[in-house]
């Protein structure tokens, strides 16, 4: 894998060879492997190594980017020339900022690189899959899923003197257990493979598949739902694009005219915090600015947005300057150039005052639905943040404080404003991962009047 020292050499070489103007070079890559199983066998199994070098030129108010994974001198120089050619034909943009000379206030994150994860072998992953398949067979089920591991790096150097480098590892297991007309699912990831327990995940997924057999056809309508953490993150993840300052400046956010207003229940407190011990990811943004912790929502009121450097500058000069809360570069920008600005990607829900376990939520529910995961979530209406999607892989009827039986999957059409205003209980937030949104630290939630509009055939 490319080292920070080798990356610095490439940057210095390109800096000497590029024409006048500012230069930014970012590096990303690493090794990743994924063992995939279905029908109780490994059917796909891959490993790859790649290095990407991305060059940004900034000259006379014009900027552009070119990327290559070929590291010979000719290819790297071609990337520089391509970026220069893309930049020079543009009209000058007076809003473009010079490259930053430092990443702003320093932040500290826990180590996210673990040698045991980096050193996982194909045999190690196959051994984990054997345990999962063994569990499936024990319960007369079939299983499908993945066991993946990766070691990766991200680095940035610019001609103003900024440089930063981050290395991390990640191991991940996802399991679906299938038995006739029912299924169950579990997924977990961590930088440290020691935190992955294939057997425990497999047993939980298997229990859901067994318990949801012969699903009942329940009429759609408004139900109290208990959303497990993966279901919560997959649906709430769709609103965080709108917490970027540029989305308000562009007037494409559901937070247009709403920052400072109470949109959610008193019990909703949300941070973006890259340094949180249960978070993963890179501590700097696309320009190399250090990601600062930001409280987005306080007691249901949207307090702050996140801002790339250029967004902060534009917002301060705009008609929205005093309508969007504190404005400062928070270290959440995407690589430039881009049209989307920034986004919080290290979401942490604050712990509730009186956390309840999922079992306690079930015990306090007279009639409701327990949801393991949500699927194919899409936005139906952008200002109410109305989302549609399906339940999947373990949906249960709860009555009189107990799980009664599995039910057929529902389609929901639910506003996130409505949902987060009707949260009756939350668990202690945990690191969670799904398929529709990015990983977060989220609680399970008990939500009243969740709107199921249709039932499917299984």
């Amino acid at each position: 894998m490319l080292t920070q020292s080798q990356a610095a050499d490439i940057f210095n070489k390109l800096r000497k060879s590029s024409s006048s103007g500012e230069l930014e070079v970012t590096f990303s890559g690493g090794r990743s492997s994924l063992t995939r199983f279905a029908n109780n066998v490994i059917h796909q199994n891959m490993t790859e190594e790649n290095t990407s070098v991305s060059v940004r030129i900034l000259k006379d108010g014009r900027t552009a980017r070119a990327t290559t994974n070929v590291l010979d001198d000719e290819s790297l120089q071609r990337a520089v020339t391509s970026a220069e050619n893309l930049a020079k034909v543009q009209e000058a943009d007076p809003d473009l900022l010079p490259m930053p000379s430092n990443g702003g206030p320093s932040t500290t994150i826990p180590s996210r690189h673990f040698a045991n994860t980096a050193n996982l072998t194909p045999q190690d992953r196959a051994s984990g899959v054997e345990k999962i398949v063994g569990t499936a067979k024990k319960h007369n089920l079939t299983t499908a899923g993945i066991f993946a591991s990766a070691e990766s790096y991200e680095g940035i150097f610019n001609s103003a003197g900024l440089h930063d480098w981050h290395m991390q590892t990640l191991a991940e297991i996802s399991i679906t257990m299938i038995g006739g007309d029912a299924s169950g699912w579990q997924k977990f990831n961590s930088p440290d493979a020691l935190h992955l327990d294939p057997l425990a995940l497999a047993e939980t997924a298997a229990r859901k598949a067994v318990d949801s057999a012969n699903p009942l056809d329940l009429a759609p309508g408004k139900y109290t739902v208990i959303l497990e953490p993966a279901a919560v993150l997959d649906i709430v993840g769709f609103m965080f694009w709108d917490f970027g300052g540029l989305s308000v400046l562009d007037q494409r956010s559901f937070l247009n005219d709403r920052v400072g207003k109470k949109l959610f229940g008193d019990n909703i407190n949300i941070w973006d915090d890259a340094s949180h011990p249960l978070q993963t990811g890179i501590p700097f943004d696309g320009e190399g600015m250090r990601r600062q912790p930001v409280q987005l929502v306080e007691n249901g009121v949207v307090r702050q947005l996140v801002h790339a450097r250029s967004t902060a500058e534009k917002l301060r000069k705009s008609e929205f300057a005093d309508k969007v809360g504190p404005v400062h570069a928070s270290g959440h920008g995407f690589q430039l150039p881009n049209e989307m600005g920034e986004m919080p990607i290290n979401i942490v829900f604050a712990a509730p005052a009186n956390p309840q376990t999922v079992d306690q939520m079930i015990a306090s529910t007279e009639r409701g639905v327990l949801v393991t995961r949500l699927w194919y979530i899409r936005e139906v209406e952008p200002y109410d943040k109305m989302m549609t999607g399906m339940t999947r892989d373990g949906t249960f009827l709860v009555e009189n404080g107990k799980i009664q039986r599995g039910i057929r999957n529902f389609r929901f059409n639910e506003s996130l404003l409505h949902m987060l205003s009707n949260v009756e209980a939350m668990s202690t937030p945990v690191r969670s991962t799904g398929e529709e949104s990015f990983d977060m630290v989220v609680p399970a939630m008990k939500v009243r009047d969740f709107n199921f509009t249709e039932t499917t055939k299984f």
């Binding site: 199994n45 007037q251 494409r252 559901f254 055939k457």
Partner: protein, 488 residues
């Protein structure tokens, strides 16, 4: 390139592989965009690498490297064998690949203008003119345009003797106008949402799309939607424009016919399919006028699923999927074809890049247009009462591809055979087979367009693939409309 690819095959053979293929891919992309009259993004990207796929000890292994030196390719090949041996620890049935005569061939996407020969100034000038035209409309609060070109050159060799050199081009462009006022954000896109129209063509596509000519109308419609009535709830006769029907085909025909889904191989992520094997040639998928093919051949047209050979080296083919309403075919591969009694792959194995495993992907899944002349306006005028919906806004379908809900950017009421009031937030939902059995009219060839879906996601790690969907406006009877807003 062939020399280093064959080096990988030699190493694989020496290390005990019973089958191997090596695929070198050189990819180039240019992506340009504007927003509110300024350049939003200007990017070039290149990528080069090799993927080596092997069968050893009756199991699959795959490794990929971005370093095409002999030492690195050898190391990757040895790793692919090691991966296959690990796979063999959790196996049951022997792998069966259908026979395929090894092809030695060259193929290039037919194109008139290599898009990378056009100047960046020319590309940006067009986008900025479109952007400016949209911003002349009062009430528009955000404008976005985009254009992208891709060139993918592949060298494929296999231990069976295949040697294929293929160069594919694709081009795409589109734009959108947004209007925000009060408590509402509305949007109109052209020629399609989520990036526009994409085809396997050169720059000539851009010249055919009439982009600038439609910019003002599209922006005016975005603003008009703010004052339009909400689409009503209920059961209606529904006419869909070709682009929305293309996505309907993608989600409710294209995905459920993927044989890997049917066989459970995608159960953990993309899902499975309601089209279990016993339904082949028995299920009435749609009404008698529903005919769908999966056609990757050049003669089908310049779809994003058009190619010479798939990533297993099988020449592009045409498979009847729905024939006069009857379900007649799946998308298959060399590994899966035998499960439906076929002796040859349907040539659908494609991979996103050199570092991804080929998997069953849609080619061009297209509905056959009506054989009697019928324009969209004639279709509307033959509809006494109903709704017409245009341009996808959102799409969602369950993991067996049964229950779907789509919403469109704009709708119109149809009264007495005429387009009446504009309707905002139109949506419809249903069950796949019930929906296709309700189709009672489809426009003819003149209204048929081969739409491109550039962003189809599938697999783990997830791969994005372009697929083609030929479609013409069509009418469906008694469709549930507006349930998205039921109870809200």
């Amino acid at each position: 390139m062939n020399e280093i690819a064959n080096w990988a095959l030699n190493i694989a053979s020496l290390r005990g592989a019973s089958y191997a293929d090596a695929r070198i891919v050189s990819h180039r992309n240019r992506a340009l965009s504007t927003k509110n009259g300024k350049v939003g993004s200007a990017q070039d990207a290149e990528s080069l690498g090799m993927g080596i796929r092997v069968i050893a000890n009756n199991a699959w292994g795959f490794a990929a490297t971005d370093n095409l030196t002999r030492a690195s390719v050898e190391a990757a090949t040895v790793l692919a064998i090691e991966v296959a041996h690990a796979s063999a620890r959790v196996q049951q049935e022997p792998l069966q690949l259908t026979d395929e005569k090894p092809a030695v061939a060259e193929w290039t996407t037919p194109h008139k203008i290599d898009p990378f020969t056009t100047s960046i100034e020319q590309n940006l000038d067009l986008l900025l003119k479109i952007d400016a035209e949209m911003r002349t409309v009062s009430g528009v609060t955000l404008t976005e345009t985009g254009m992208s070109f891709d060139r993918e050159e592949t060298w494929f060799v296999s231990s069976e003797g295949a040697n294929i050199h293929q160069t594919k081009f694709s081009t795409g462009a589109g734009y959108a106008a947004y209007a925000f006022a009060g408590n509402e954000i509305q949007k109109r896109s052209y020629p399609n949402s989520f990036g526009g129209q994409y085809q396997s063509k050169g720059y000539e596509l851009i010249e055919e799309l009439k982009l600038l000519e439609n910019a003002r109308r599209v922006a005016e419609e975005a603003v008009a939607l703010l004052k339009a009535d909400q689409c009503p709830e209920g059961t209606f006769n529904l006419i869909l424009d070709g682009s929305q029907l293309g996505l309907q085909i993608h989600e409710s025909v294209g995905h459920p016919i993927e044989l890997d889904r049917v066989l459970g191989m995608e159960a953990n992520f993309a899902g499975t399919s309601f089209l279990t094997l016993e339904k082949l040639r028995k299920l009435r998928y749609g009404s008698d006028i529903v005919n769908v093919v999966a056609d990757g051949r050049q003669e089908h047209g310049p779809g994003l699923g058009t190619f010479g050979f798939d990533d297993e080296g099988v020449p592009a083919q045409c498979t009847p999927i729905i024939t006069n309403g009857l379900f007649t075919g799946y998308l298959s591969s060399r590994e899966t074809a035998h499960t439906i009694g076929e002796t040859r792959s349907g040539a659908t194995m494609r991979s996103e890049a050199w570092n991804r495993i080929p998997m069953i992907r849609m080619t061009n899944i297209s509905i056959v247009p009506g054989d009697k002349p019928l324009t969209k306006e004639q279709l509307i005028s033959s509809t006494d009462s109903g709704l017409y919906m245009e341009t996808n806004h959102s799409w969602s379908i369950d993991d067996k591809r049964y229950n779907f809900q789509f919403s469109c950017e704009v709708g119109w009421e149809i009264k007495g055979g005429k387009r009446a009031r504009m309707l905002k937030n139109p949506s419809y939902s249903g069950i796949t087979t019930e929906f296709w059995n309700s189709m009672d009219a489809i426009c003819s060839r003149d209204e048929w367009t081969l739409w491109g879906t550039p962003n189809c996601g599938k697999g783990q790690p997830q791969q994005t693939m372009g697929t083609g969907h030929g479609a013409a406006p069509a009418r469906f009877k008694n469709i549930r409309v507006g349930s998205a807003f039921q109870g809200s």
